[in-house]
């Protein structure tokens, strides 16, 4: 870390339309962008548009009996009164709030630890990634066995440590199912959060801390006054990534609970409506609703980011 990145002065935005040359360059720029825009339109806008269109129809997977009709807002009206969907939204939001806050707190601590220099830091940084590197379905299945009430190692350990007296069905018992699935997600994703935050920590210039030391700032003051403010961009990116991921969660819940009703996330509800029940139209409306809910979170974050930048 010998070079110090000096923050570039923010370029002043030009409102003028520019010279003739600039306009021509703009045109060439657009032409060069076209292929990538076409790809984006094909892989993102077209499917989204099609989903929105389908959400206004009564399309069925096995359409042998009913021909597809335009039904207007019928699906959305039904969705508004769909209590199962509402439950799934709340469950997903609860899951997101719990896991993202724990992952952030733990991830930050881990990032700070592995950012300080100590012997074996390299090994530590690699090893901490192990949970993140295991495919989610494999990890979830592993934990499902470990949490089993008859053969699970978790119950065995807790009983030997005299924390509980009888084996507990962590996954099956509705009282602990959300907690157990959150724990597994936190175990699995904290390394990812730590990694992103570590990257943010590494671009903070070391001489700021040296200067703070000279000025007699305590470690805690350094953390609040230097580390945290300069880490803010990395924190926001991390939180956006994790929140969006958590809102779309499917795999852990699917492995843990299958088709249980009280543990359906939004994504599982959409999948089982479309693929299980064959209601493509209604399922599309569910998907659009999920899209809007996730967009809402993105808007909140982006606004928050702007406000803090100013």
């Amino acid at each position: 870390m010998s070079t110090v990145a000096t923050p570039a002065p923010a370029p002043r935005r030009r409102r003028r339309r520019g010279t003739k040359l600039q306009r021509r360059q703009t045109r060439i720029g657009w032409i060069l962008l076209l292929p990538s825009l076409a790809v984006v339109a094909f892989v993102a806008i077209y499917p989204l548009g099609k989903t929105v269109y389908q959400s206004f129809t009564n399309q069925e997977f096995l359409a042998g009996l009913e021909p597809t009709k335009w039904v207007g807002l019928e699906n959305y009206r039904e969705l508004w009164h769909d209590t199962i969907f509402r439950d799934s939204v709340w469950l997903t939001i609860k899951f997101t709030l719990i896991t993202v806050s724990f992952e952030f707190a733990l991830g930050l601590i881990i990032a700070l630890v592995v950012n300080s220099s100590f012997k074996g830091r390299g090994v530590m940084r690699a090893v901490m990634l192990v949970p993140w590197a295991i495919p989610t379905v494999v990890a979830a299945q592993m934990w499902k066995w470990m949490l089993d009430d008859v053969f699970g190692v978790v119950n065995d350990l807790l009983i030997k440590l005299h924390i509980i007296s009888h084996p507990h069905a962590w996954i099956s018992d509705p009282a602990t199912s959300l907690a157990s699935v959150c724990a597994v997600d936190i175990w699995k994703t904290t390394p990812f959060v730590a990694l992103l935050l570590l990257a943010g920590l590494q671009v903070i210039p070391q001489d700021l801390y040296e200067a703070a030391d000279v000025d007699g700032a305590s470690q805690l003051q350094q953390f609040w006054r230097i580390t945290l403010p300069l880490l803010r961009p990395a924190i926001l990116v991390t939180l956006i990534f994790r929140t969006l991921d958590a809102l779309r969660v499917f795999d852990v819940f699917n492995v843990f609970f299958g088709n249980r009703q009280d543990t359906q996330t939004m994504a599982i509800y959409a999948q089982s409506t479309i693929v299980g029940d064959g209601h493509v139209g209604y399922g599309a409306a569910v998907s659009v609703a999920i899209f809007l809910i996730i967009s809402l979170f993105v808007v909140i974050y982006v606004v928050f980011m702007r406000v803090t930048e100013e």
Binding site: F61, R121, V138, Q141, W145, D149, V150, R260
Partner: protein, 448 residues
């Protein structure tokens, strides 16, 4: 430099750890059990020469079994078929939960995909899938006469034979003869309450030496199998068959009583986690010697009776218990083989179905996998009877209850989901009176 090396070493170590963990996870899927010695080999294909001349070298994909040793059987039969006819068969096991394998087929059919040639079809699906299946009557009509006619009728939609019966299924009760004797019981339980009492007593005694022992296991996970189990409980308690005469009937006093009785047993005479058990978990619990009673399909008999099984010679089968005011029943299960309309190798596929549903293969399946033959003469065969005691009239002639597929057609899966999700909720602790009314109105909406 040293730093880099350390990092590299760490990474390699991490990868090795992950690899070993994944392997461990994959291999512990099934507790190791002695493999079945293949005493009988797959029967040879009749008319193999003619078939080889016409279709040899073609390649077909068969979406087959995955429960118990079903996949092994499929591979053995496909290998023999390929050897005799030159038609290559790619055997793909379907998802173990039947509602998931339904979804898989829905996706393939709705995309008019030719990737599946022959598929294994649950007894409740022909109505939903008929438009996508080849009429087998012209080529296999004669062979279908050998099979039990009620199943053939089930597989005939609008005069077309859309699937061939392959093996039958009905729910039966497995019980440990040695433990019944040990705890002073002469006969297996007749009613559910007797079963609970016996399960309780045996469990209390056995848990002193085996902490993993429980009285009763069944399929309580929220999936198709629970619909089958619940239908048996409710029908055997005189609570009807979920839907009858085009109307949902599930919300009645008798159904409430039996469902609440089951709910109280969860975690007491059953493992608490039984609400996530499917067939395989049931079979493992019983065959590892960790349960006194189990409800399962006949296939479990063959696995338990295999040399090397912990319960070999210590268990028997009987009809399922009934409620205070009902009769023993068994849910009709069973699998058919069908050929996709979008297959590019229909004729070769039909030849494969002909072989798989022939008397020789059904006998092979009954002897090696204890699956219920759908061919009358095979079911009467002495060797088959001797090996599969659930075929004796006292068990085989018990009244059958059918899942309400005929009222639902393409909506069957959706309705079944309402049923198994609701029942699973009850088993997980919600009183039946809070769940059944909602289920009933949802079912009526779907029927409409």
């Amino acid at each position: 430099m040293k730093h880099r090396l350390l990092l590299l070493a760490g990474l390699v170590g991490a990868i090795a750890l992950i690899a070993s963990l994944s392997v461990a996870a994959a291999s512990s899927n099934k507790p190791s059990r002695a493999h079945k010695a293949a005493a009988i080999s797959a029967p040879k294909v009749p008319n193999a020469k003619t078939i080889k001349k016409k279709y040899g070298g073609q390649k077909i994909t068969f979406v087959g079994d995955s429960v118990g040793d079903g996949h092994k059987r499929d591979l053995a039969l496909a290998k023999r078929f390929t050897k005799d006819t030159g038609i290559k068969v790619n055997v793909v096991p379907h998802p173990a939960a039947s509602d998931q394998s339904y979804s898989q087929l829905v996706r393939a059919f709705s995309q008019k995909s030719s990737s599946i040639d022959v598929a294994m079809i649950d007894v409740v699906w022909p109505g939903a899938f008929a438009p996508y299946l080849v009429n087998l009557k012209p080529k296999l009509g004669k062979q279908s006469k050998l099979h039990i006619q009620s199943i053939v009728q089930n597989d005939t939609i609008g005069g077309k034979l859309v699937a061939m019966p392959w093996f039958g299924d009905y729910g039966i009760l497995y019980y440990r003869t040695d433990l019944l004797k040990k705890y002073g019981y002469k006969t297996p339980p007749k009613t559910w309450n007797q079963l609970f009492t016996m399960a309780r007593k045996i469990q209390t005694g056995e848990q002193k030496t085996n902490k993993n022992f429980y009285g009763f296991v069944f399929q309580g996970n929220a999936y198709e199998g629970l619909t089958c189990n619940a239908l048996e409980w409710i029908a055997s308690a005189g609570g009807g068959t979920l839907i009858s005469g085009g109307k949902a009937t599930i919300n009645n006093a008798k159904a409430r009583t039996i469902l609440d009785a089951m709910r109280v047993q969860i975690g007491k005479t059953t493992p608490r986690g039984v609400t996530s058990y499917q067939e395989d978990q049931t079979e493992h619990a019983f065959d590892d010697g960790n349960a006194a009673f189990a409800r399962n399909w006949p296939y479990q008999y063959g696995i338990g009776a295999t040399a090397g099984s912990k319960v070999k010679g210590k268990f028997s089968v009987t009809v399922l218990p009934h409620g205070a005011t009902g009769k023993s029943v068994g849910t009709v299960g069973g699998w058919q083989l069908a050929v996709s309309k979008f297959s590019k190798r229909k004729d070769a596929s039909i030849e494969f179905v002909r072989y798989m549903t022939s008397p020789a293969v059904e006998k092979f399946d009954a002897l090696t996998n204890s699956n219920v033959p759908t061919i009358v003469s095979v079911a009467k065969d002495k060797a088959v009877r001797a090996k599969n005691p659930y075929l004796k009239p006292a068990i085989a002639s018990v009244p059958r209850v059918t899942r309400p597929a005929k009222f639902l057609k393409t909506h069957y899966n959706e309705a079944s989901k309402v049923i198994y999700q609701g029942i699973n909720q009850i088993l997980n602790g919600t009183p039946a009176k809070n769940v059944l009314p909602g289920m009933q109105s949802k079912l009526n909406q779907i029927i409409k």
